[in-house]
């Protein structure tokens, strides 16, 4: 475990904890951003440049901003904490959170344990040069996974058109 890993892990965990415990919603969002950025740092630390940078671009650049906008455009930004203050409510929330976390962790652990890279000799993992890794991603996306990629593209386009239509419908109402 290297020092950089330690720092990044602490940053990620600290951010995540802060995101749960801070009182102001906007602070929570900012803390979440820190956690996401820490995660990106972990990817980079592992040599996965593309994934790490995409993580920053998408999560810090877009998702965080989206959440921030959502917070701003609703009343939430002003209300310090809308959490159910009753004891029972708090308990059930906690239990739900723990259960979700455990489930996610279990799935991830299962995937990691069964992944073929883990069974392969360690040397092949580290020997892949980043440039090759990036080309591999490109090749994989354009050759082997071209159909899923296209399907996803289609789906996103459909979503985009749907969003446009939803936005357009507002106009006659306003006038």
């Amino acid at each position: 475990m290297s020092l950089s890993f330690l720092i990044l892990a602490l940053l990620t965990l600290g951010g995540a904890v802060a995101a749960m415990t801070l009182h102001r919603l906007v602070h929570c969002v900012l803390a979440l951003t820190v956690a996401l950025a820490g995660l990106a740092g972990l990817y980079l630390n592992l040599g996965a440049q593309f994934v790490g940078l995409a993580q920053i671009l998408v999560y810090v650049g877009a998702v965080a901003i989206l959440i921030v906008f959502a917070v701003l455009l609703t009343r939430g930004a002003e209300i310090a904490s809308q959490m159910d203050s009753s004891r029972q409510g708090r308990f059930s929330a906690l239990a739900g959170g723990v259960a979700t976390a455990a489930a996610v962790f279990a799935v991830l652990a299962w995937v990691v344990l069964h992944s073929p890279t883990l069974s392969a000799p360690a040397a092949t993992m580290t020997q892949v040069a980043p440039q090759a890794a990036m080309q591999q991603i490109g090749d994989a996306l354009m050759r082997r996974y071209v159909l899923p990629l296209e399907v996803m593209g289609l789906m996103l386009t459909a979503a985009l058109i749907g969003a446009v239509i939803l936005a357009l419908e507002e106009k006659p109402e306003a006038q």
Binding site: R24, R75, A77, E78, A80, E173, A174
Partner: protein, 385 residues
């Protein structure tokens, strides 16, 4: 609790207008970079769309009318300079015209010509700098304004050499003007008149065809001719709405009936029309200047029989009005036969043109409000008096 935006309870009027969501109430001014002085607008925003706008003025109230009622007819003239402090010449003229009407004072020919020349020069510098200010409000980092000021400087220099002051000219008197202009001065005025079209071409090259300017101004702040007439709007703003009403043509005060010039009229009444009308009016003003400078006769500049000090007009009332650069500038005087007017009232075009601000701004966004306000051409000194 962080009340980051003032949440406003939906009022009935808003819900009647079909406004949904939360409203942001902003007080634009009195210390805001583009309110042209100390002027405040209580703006209620839905997003960035204006749902209500209340102009609040009076911050610069200086008791102008009451002061003039306590001062002699002569002593009121320097105060008129300070109404619309960009156009002291036309302010002087409006007041002088009212007193002349009240007391029946004739004006010598040469004085009339000088009045026309100085008034048209005033119009030139006022319109040029207004367009500069308008563009400044649009965010053009001062370039058009500086070009306008470059030209304005020449006109102000001319005023200084004639009257001793650049802006507070205090030049016209009932019965004429204060000092005579030399032939060199007339030559300098001729130079300005002949070089001004070139400047206007430059100005138009920089601005008129600019897509951003057109996009920002066309269709923005449209004012219908009907509303304009009903609200008493005058000046370039009225003519931009397509109403042919120019006091220089309607009243033919002074000697304006001797000059041939045209009155440009707009069809849309939006900010772009107001901008263009002012540009076209400047070209017409140059024509008037050329004619006046060519025809100016020799002679006295002030009616010798008029007593400036201690003027006591017969009891009565008079309303003198002129076509100022901003619109109809009128002075209403009631005399009770004493040395100071019993009642003195100004009809300030800036203020009356400002009354339709809300009508022009509703449904537009903040950026438009600033531009629309800029296109009205207000000077707070005149609005608040």
């Amino acid at each position: 609790m962080s009340a980051m935006v003032t949440r406003v309870v939906l009022e009935e009027e808003e819900s009647a207008r079909g406004v949904e969501g939360e409203l942001l109430e902003i007080s634009m001014g009195p210390h805001h970079p583009s309110t042209h002085g100390v002027f405040r607008m209580d703006v209620r925003l839905d997003g960035e769309r204006v749902t209500r706008l209340k102009p609040v003025f009076g911050y610069l109230h200086r008791n102008h009318e009451k002061i003039a009622e306590k001062a002699s007819y002569l002593a009121a003239i320097p105060y008129t300079d300070r109404l619309d402090y960009l156009c002291s010449m036309t302010n002087n003229w409006g007041y002088a015209l009212a007193v002349e009407k009240l007391a029946g004072i004739p004006v010598p020919e040469r004085a009339e010509y000088i009045r026309v020349i100085t008034a048209e020069l005033t119009r030139l510098q006022n319109h040029a700098s207004l367009i500069g200010f308008l563009l400044q409000d649009m965010g053009a980092s001062g370039t058009p304004l500086m070009y306008a000021f470059r030209e304005r400087e020449k006109i102000l220099d001319l005023f200084e050499s004639l009257t001793g002051a650049r802006m507070m000219c205090n030049y016209m008197r009932f019965g004429g003007v204060r000092v005579d202009c030399s032939s060199e001065w007339l030559e300098a005025a001729q130079n300005i008149a002949s070089s001004f079209p070139q400047f206007l071409d430059e100005y138009e090259q920089l601005l008129t065809g600019n897509e951003i300017l057109m996009a920002r101004t066309q269709g923005v702040g449209a004012l219908s001719a009907e509303l304009a007439v009903n609200a008493g709007i005058t000046g370039p703003m009225l003519r931009a709405s397509g109403v042919n009403y120019d006091l220089r043509k309607v009243d033919r005060y002074g000697i304006y009936d001797r000059f041939t010039f045209r009155v440009p009229l707009g069809d849309h009444g939006d900010v772009y029309d107001r901008y263009m009308i002012r540009l076209l009016e400047m070209r017409e003003s140059v024509k008037i200047l050329e004619q006046a400078l060519a025809a100016i006769p020799e002679g006295p500049i002030i009616d010798p029989k008029t007593r400036l000090r201690g003027l006591r007009p017969k009891a009565g009332e008079a309303y003198g009005r002129i076509e100022g650069p901003k619109g109809e500038l009128g002075f209403f005087l009631i005399s009770d036969g004493s040395t100071n007017p019993y009642r003195y009232k100004v009809r300030p075009p800036s203020m009356i043109n400002l009354t339709v601000l809300e009508d022009m701004c509703l449904g537009r966004n903040v950026a438009d409000v600033v531009v629309i306000l800029g296109s009205v051409d207000i000077v707070m000194g005149e609005v608040d008096r």
